[in-house]
Every structure is written in C-alpha cells, then in structure tokens.
C-alpha cells in the first residue's frame, strides 16, 4: 500500500463543522410546497380485534384506515429462505382487522400541520374488542397460552440448534461446572432523532421520492417499489442528515411505508415525524433474552463443554428483510467463540409476543453471548482458585490455530486476544487496582473489577442475506472523479450517521491519489445519484465502502497516469501520483499538477494525441469475498463501586483494547468505541422496556426509560492492537459495535466481583438497585455484608 499518508491520521470531520453550527439538515427540517402532515392512530391494546373505525368529518383532514392502505400496498412477511422453520404472519403497513401490539398503527390522519393531524387523530373513534395477549416469553410457549396470532397455531416463531462435539459428555467429565440462568431485558435503541419520513409523489410521472431517516436507502427503495407496485427506477430514496440510528433505522416500518402510500393516494407530499412515544411503541425493540448457560472446566481450567439455551422474542412480527431471530442466532453462534473448545450445544427458541417487533440493535445478540460465557468463566475461575485473567489466557485459541471453525459453526479468522489482554492489563495497571480493591474492601467499600473478552462480527458479506432471499445488498460502491480544478469528488453508497465514514473514505481516496484530504469531497445518501450499495449496518462502512473507494481511486489513478503519459509523452509506468500532482517514479520530480492534468482532460482534449480518451472518473464495487465477515476482537475492563445499602452501581472507570484491523482514523475509531461502550453500559445498568401483564408498556417516555447521562458515566481509556484483515487492500475491520458488545459484560463481571464477599450474584440486566438488593437479600441480607467484608471472608 503505497501513498498511505492520510490513512492512520486523525483527520477532522468536515460534517462536524456543519452540525456544530446548527446547519445540519435533518428530515424534519425539510420543507416542501403543498406539504401535508401525517399522524397515526395507534392501538391502545396489546391485542385487539378492530371492529370499526369512525372519524368526524373535518375540513382539510383525511383519515385513512389500514384496509384502505392495504388496497394499494401489499403486505410483507418476515421469513427467510435459509431458515425454513421460521414462520411469521403477513404484516400490513397499518393493522387490518386486528392489532397485534400496543402502538401498532391502525389508521393514518393527514392534515395541514403536524399539530392539526395529531388533534384529528384524537377524534378518530376505533371500536376494539380486546383479545388475550401473549406477553411473557416463558408463558408464551406453555399449554393454553394466549396466541399472539390466532391463526398461527402457537407462539413459536423459530427453533434451531447450533452444536458440535458432545457437550453432555464434556460437561459430565468436567472438573467443575458453572451454570446460571440469565435474563436480559427488552430494550430499544433511542436514537435522539426520532424516525421521520417525507414522501413526495409526482402523480403525472408516477415517480416517488422519499426523504427519510434510513440506514439503508437501497433496501427502502426496493421495499417501496415492490410493496407499492412501482418500477424501481421510479423510486428514489434520499437520506439527509440522520440523528443516530444504531439499527433502529434499518428496518421496514409500517408507518413509513404508509406515508409513501398516502402520498400516492393524495398526490401530495406527506411528512411523518415520530414523537418520542411513537418511537418507544413503534421503533424496534431488542435483546429480550433468557439464557441458561453452562460451562465446564477441567483440572487445568480448560473448557470442557459449553451449553447455551436461549429463549428470545421477536415481538408481534418477525422483522421484514432483517429477520429478528438474528438476535438469538448471534447469541448461540458467538458464545464461547474466543475460546478453544470442542463440545458445544446451543439451542435457540424464538417466540411471538404481543409486543413491538424486535430487530437489529447495535451488537445484535453478541453482548449476551459475551456476557454469559465471561461471567461463568469468572465464577468457574474463582471456584477453582485460578486467576480470572489466567483462565482466559489458557483458553484463548492458540496463535497457530487460525483459521478455525468453532463447534457452533463460526468461521474464526486471526484474532489478537492475548495481545489485547496484555495491553489492557498494562493500561489499567491491573495489579494495583486489585490491591486498591482489597484495601477498600477492608473498609467496607465494595469495588469490583470485570474483564471481558469479546469478538465482534463486522462487515458481513453475502453469506447471510443472500441465501435468506432478503434482497439486501452487502456490496458497496464508489465513483471517484477528478474535477476540472484538480480536486476530487467521491460519490459513495455508504451512509453516514455520525460515525465519520465519509471522512474515512476521503482519507482513503486522498491516500491513493496522493492529494490532501481536504481536496476530496465525499457525498452519499441518494439512490438515484450514487452507486448501488448496502448502507450502514454491521459495522461495515469503511471495510466495504472504504474498500470500494480505494479500488475506485486505484482505477482512477491508472486512468490519470494513462492521460498524463499521453500529455507528458512518458511511459505510464514511469509516473506516479503524489503531492497533488504527477511525479517521476524514479526521481520523485513533479512533472505536472493534477489541476493542469484535469484542465487538459476536461477542456483541452484538442491538445491530446489522436485516439486518447480522457477517463477522469472510475467506479468500483466491493463485496467481501475472502471471508464471510471480518471478525474484530478485543478486551474491556470495568471498575465499579457497588453501594450495599442502596444497591446502586457506579461505574468508576472503563478500559477497552480493541483490534479493528488497520485503523484509518484513530480519532473516529476511539469515539465509536467510547459511544458503543456507554450504550453497552446503558443496557447493563439502566435500559428496559417495562410491560405489564396485559402488554402495556409502562415507561414509554424519556423520563421513565433511563439512558446513560454524562454524570453516571465513567471516563474511558481506549487502546489498539492492529491485525489487518487478510484478503483486502485496506485491511480494515468494523469498529461500530465493539464497544457495545464488551461493555455490559465487563460491568456485570465487575458488579459480581464487587459482590463476591457477600456471596450475592446478579444475573439480570439491567442491574438496577432493586436487582442488587434482591441478590443481596437472597445471599443473606445487606446487614451482614460489612461484617463479611471486614473479616475478608467470603472469597470463594
């Protein structure tokens, strides 16, 4: 990789300047002539038959029912070709005859302003016949459980096993077995900007342009064309600035599809901006797993059998295009994957519930896979008298074992686990922290240290969505062109939600063309204007779209040297691009600037020898081909204090060492890691969508659903190990989810480490004060803790 100057530097994001001056353009900021505004009437019942919908006539207001929308929009089904056992009933944009979750849209109201539409929505009278709701996951599979969908014949959505070797036998011969049933609450992503969509339909030309908060505009274009019966090139999806996504904005939402249908029905542009309650009831939820896990270790502390039995929920429907069974599939596939073991038994059962549909949220099942195994390893290590770091070192895959396949079927490329752990231990000064912990324990202060090893599946190629028949592209593309003044424009299919992907692409293009980063402009987010691609999910931006941009820039460089050779009457091989110009390869002497070359290529073709066609742009696509995905890895550590009187957990400090391959921009990578860590801590300590026995969400406001605030969060130290991916030019891996995958597990391990003298154990997320107090009470009560701590007793 020659000319890699800008790669590896902490270039600033040009977009940050726009946003910091309040000049971002988010979907709700957009104005259109004749714009109408939609609000949705949402079911107040978790499960109900819709008997009648009536609305008083109001001037300027149009009420549209689910049945009317169904007249112009086909339903969809969240099944997947490669998972033949997966069932999911047809889902309509708005409920038809029956609502299957509290918050499912039932009717749309269109008026001249959002306030008028919301007023009119309150006047819509819906006659419901409430039905019994399937609510608890465990109960949903029991005999006589109320069905989430009466016609489905049961609440089981999907069931599978991922197994290799003989886990029963390995566990039976293990020297010790650690086992526990863990509960991970239902949570949601809470991007600060609620979903918003504007659909503009031109009835004359029958063309639909949709502006919206979508992480994959191509998926949205394909969905809209198929569901609304429009030719694909008559649908254009434009993504303005997006206020966070984290997976929430990756899905096909009935309300968003309905807005496009309404624009077609009315022949007017229609906007829908969700409010926060719409978001809590309408956005995808995630996690919601109960996992029974067991690990065995032999006398040396090496794994002898792993069992993971996960029960998860997809809510009312399995998500279209992005089957939500992935949450559990990732859990049973990724569990224990950092560690050498031969005998694994994973089982997954996924149920329907009358709750909001769940889907892909940052980390997708991987935080849970990490949490259960890391916690059991800690407990097993302590029971066996082995240092918790030592048991990990003993079990990491050997350096000469790669590539390998785990018994769960996961292809594992080269990892750097031991190097990451060594780096982390040095960064956090582990030994002195342990001394501090012991000293403070003697004073009755419960400090805990948790160290969790994680792997993160990033930049997933076509192996999953392809066989699923999901019509989701895992390819990305870029066009790079030289503008007449010698600056460079890159148009990419990457989608930017704040990660800085476009800046990373600018660095990559600048590196290959030998120009300054500020001389490269990168644009994206318009399905009519950029190469076709995938978008933003699975930590794929730089690894896939960045690789495509490198290859496009590489092709453009060849074109430019062809042209320069013709202009300079030199052999192409004797030239290279550097420092904003064309130079002699041998001497480094500058022969002409890119501006001069571009001037000839764009305006003075008359001066070129006959037959020379200046080709000042190049397009390339890239889809991962060397491996099914890029496996990133790392280790995180958490230091917490637990207050045994109140049950409060206070994270004091957090450390992460991660390996996302070659780092294009350390500043952006580190902030991805930090942001991901805090979301992970949120899931471990605060976040839960609480429902009552009737399926009513009890905390659908930001005042009641807790997310991390600045005051509760620790400073976070980040370190790196770089193991470039094999088979790509850049060698990058994803970094967007690593923080989230490892943070919650590290915090849980730290809490349990703090509680060790009390013998209390927490096994439920979020680890609320109530959770801690309940665990303490079960272990003998908070009153005894101080005594235990002071005598130093209780260490297993």
């Amino acid at each position: 990789m020659a000319d890699c100057g800008p790669i590896g530097r902490s270039a600033r994001r040009s977009k940050a300047r726009t946003l910091a001056f309040g000049r971002g353009r988010f979907a709700d900021d957009l104005r259109f002539p004749g714009l109408r505004h939609a609000a949705f009437v949402r079911s107040p019942h978790a499960h109900a038959r819709i008997l009648d919908i009536a609305a008083p006539a109001r001037p300027g207001v149009r009420v549209v029912t689910g049945r009317e929308i169904a007249g112009i929009c086909a339903p969809w089904r969240g099944t997947a070709d490669h998972l033949p056992g997966l069932v999911s009933p047809p889902q309509y944009p708005l409920a038809v005859d029956r609502a299957a979750w509290q918050g499912e849209p039932v009717a749309a109201v269109v008026a001249g302003s959002r306030a008028a539409a919301e007023d009119a929505a309150e006047d819509v009278r819906v006659d419901y016949e409430p039905l019994s709701a399937a609510v608890g996951k465990e109960r949903a599979l029991g005999r006589g459980a109320p069905p989430a969908h009466p016609d489905l014949g049961g609440n089981l959505c999907f069931e599978t096993v991922r197994a290799g070797g003989n886990a029963d036998a390995a566990l039976a011969r293990a020297a010790r077995v650690a086992a526990r049933t863990f509960t991970f609450a239902r949570q949601t992503g809470v991007p600060l900007e609620p979903r918003c969509v504007v659909a503009d339909f031109d009835p004359g030309a029958r063309r639909l342009t949709v502006y919206g908060t979508h992480q994959s505009p191509w998926q949205q274009q394909d969905s809209l064309a198929l569901l609304l019966g429009l030719p694909e090139h008559a649908v254009r999806v434009i993504v303005p600035d997006i206020g966070g996504g984290f997976g929430v904005k990756l899905h096909v939402y009935g309300d968003e599809i309905a807005v496009a249908a309404l624009a077609m029905l009315l022949g007017r542009p229609v906007k829908y901006a969700a409010d926060r309650m719409d978001s809590f009831l309408g956005d995808i939820h995630a996690r919601d797993q109960t996992v029974h896990a067991e690990i065995g270790i032999d006398a040396e502390g090496r794994l002898s059998g792993v069992r993971v039995d996960a029960l998860t929920s997809v809510g009312a429907y399995c998500a279209y295009r992005r089957p939500a069974v992935s949450e559990g599939l990732m859990t049973v596939t990724m569990a224990a994957a950092p560690y050498a073991h031969d005998d694994y038994a994973g089982r997954l059962r996924v149920v329907f519930q009358n709750k909001p549909p769940s889907g892909m949220y940052r980390g997708v099942g991987q935080p849970i896979a990490c949490a259960v195994v890391e916690q059991l390893l800690d407990w097993a290590a302590h029971a066996a008298g082995i240092d918790p770091l030592e048991i990990r070192r003993r079990n990491y895959h050997r350096a000469d074992a790669y590539p390998l396949k785990t018994p769960s079927g996961l292809a594992v490329s080269r990892l750097s686990l031991a190097a990451c752990l060594d780096r982390l231990v040095a960064m956090m000064d582990y030994d002195s922290l342990r001394r501090r912990q012991a000293a403070q324990r003697a004073d009755g202060v419960l400090l805990g240290i948790g160290v969790a090893t994680f792997i993160e599946m990033t930049a997933v190629g076509p192996v999953y969505y392809g066989p699923a028949g999901a019509r989701v592209s895992t390819q990305d593309g870029a066009t790079v062109r030289l503008e007449p003044s010698g600056v460079v424009r890159c148009v990419t299919s990457a989608i930017e939600l704040g990660q800085g992907t476009l800046t990373g692409i600018a660095q990559i293009v600048a590196a290959r063309l030998g120009v300054r980063v500020e001389d490269v402009a990168v644009e994206g987010g318009d399905t009519a204007a950029t190469p076709y691609g995938g978008g933003a999910w699975a930590s794929r931006g730089l690894t896939i779209a960045g690789e495509a941009a490198w290859r496009a820039a590489d092709a453009l460089a060849a074109n430019l040297l062809d042209l320069a050779g013709a202009v300079l009457q030199a052999e192409r091989e004797s030239l290279l691009l550097a420092a904003g110009g064309v130079c002699d390869r041998a001497t480094g002497r500058r022969r002409m600037s890119l501006a001069d070359l571009a001037g000839v290529g764009h305006f003075r073709q008359d001066s070129l020898p006959p037959g020379v066609q200046p080709e000042l742009a190049a397009t390339r696509h890239y889809v991962p081909d060397a491996a099914p995905f890029a496996l990133a890895n790392g280790v995180q550590a958490s230091l917490v204090e637990v207050d045994p009187e109140t049950g409060a957990v206070r994270p004091l400090k957090h450390w992460a060492v991660e390996d996302c391959g070659r780092i294009v921009n350390p500043l952006l990578v580190e902030e991805q890691i930090r942001g991901g860590i805090v979301q992970g801590i949120g899931g471990a300590l605060y976040e839960e969508c609480c429902h009552d026995a009737e399926g009513q969400m009890l905390n659908a406001t930001l005042a009641d659903y807790l997310v991390p605030l600045a005051a509760g969060m620790p400073d976070i130290a980040v370190g790196h190990v770089e193991t470039p991916t094999e088979g790509t030019r850049l060698g990058t891996k994803g970094a967007g989810e690593a923080g989230t995958v490892g943070a919650g597990p590290a915090v849980m391990l730290a809490v349990n480490d703090a509680l060790r003298p009390t013998r209390a154990r927490v096994d439920r997320w979020p680890i609320t004060p109530e959770t801690v107090l309940a665990a303490l009470a079960e272990a003998g009560g908070a009153r005894e803790i101080r005594g235990l701590a002071k005598t130093g007793a209780g260490v297993e």
Binding site: G22, L192, R276, Q499, G675, L702, A710, I716, G739
Partner: protein, 159 residues
C-alpha cells in the same frame, strides 16, 4: 385551538413580531415560523435537552416554553450564537475532539456548555458531567464532550 396571541420578541438580536397560536411551543415557533431548524426535537417532554435555547440569559427547554411566553424576551439559538462568534472556541473544541457524532444533540449541548462556561471558573470533570446531565447524547458516550469543555475552560480561565 384557534386562540392566537401577538408577540414581539428578540430572536438572535433581531426584533420579531408575529401572531402565534397560543399553544405553540417556542421551539416549534422557531423551527416552523422562522426556519431556525438548528434547535431539535428529541422528546418533546422536557427531558433530552435537544431543544435547549437561551431565553433572557438562561438556558431553557424550548419544548416546555410557549412561544407566547417569549413575548418581550431575548431568545438566542444555535444559529445566533454561531453567527455572533460567541461560542466559536467551543465549536472548534467540539470539532477538534470529535465531541459530536450525529450532531442532533450538539446545538443544545453547546448552549448548555456555554452557560457552564459563563460561570467564569474551571470545574472538575465530575462537575462538568453533572452540569451536562440535562442534555442527552446517544452517540459519543460523553467523554469527548467533557474533554472539549475542559479544554475550553483551560483556555478561557487558564491552566
């Protein structure tokens, strides 16, 4: 719902006279009537701080104040403090430290940070964190924001 109130208010240093719907929130008025879209709606129930504005020298939730209540008031938004250069150093520190990702919380976060800096003295990281805890950020994890504010404190009030 058809009640209207005439207001005269100073927005970013300019006098604005309008007839507003009695129930309209100040932030909706700014966004919808004046095109000042830098203030954002995150929750519309006074929790997240994305709609933070400065009214008569104090930061407020733009979604919890009615436009009618701004009659006679002095209102500053992110657009105004950007144009005046008042927070230029803070903005540069945020950009330099990558203390914003999606940028949706940033205008409100900057106005809150500027109010903290207006107190005129340095604070500990814990105090900075406490002060910022009325503004949600879902992307950064806050660490970089605290760094950026700390940097500006050092520059304004000396190391």
């Amino acid at each position: 719902m058809d009640e209207f109130i005439d207001i005269t208010t100073r927005i970013n240093g300019e006098t604005v006279t309008r007839r507003v719907e009695a129930r309209q929130h100040l932030v909706d008025f700014l966004r919808l009537e004046l095109g000042l879209t830098g203030s954002h709606l995150g929750c519309e129930h006074g929790v997240c701080g994305a709609c933070t504005l400065r009214v008569d020298g104090v930061i407020v939730r733009g979604c919890l104040m009615l436009a009618a209540q701004a009659d006679g008031a002095e209102v500053w938004t992110i657009e105004g403090v950007s144009d005046s250069g008042e927070i230029a150093d803070l903005q540069e520190a945020f950009i330099d430290r990558n203390a914003l990702q999606c940028g949706y919380c940033t205008p409100g976060m900057l106005l809150t940070a500027q109010e903290m800096l207006a107190q005129g003295h340095r604070m500990s990281r814990a105090e900075i964190r406490e002060f910022l805890s009325g503004n949600y950020c879902r992307c950064t994890g806050y660490h970089a924001i605290v760094d950026a504010v700390e940097t500006v404190m050092e520059r304004r009030f000396g190391g």
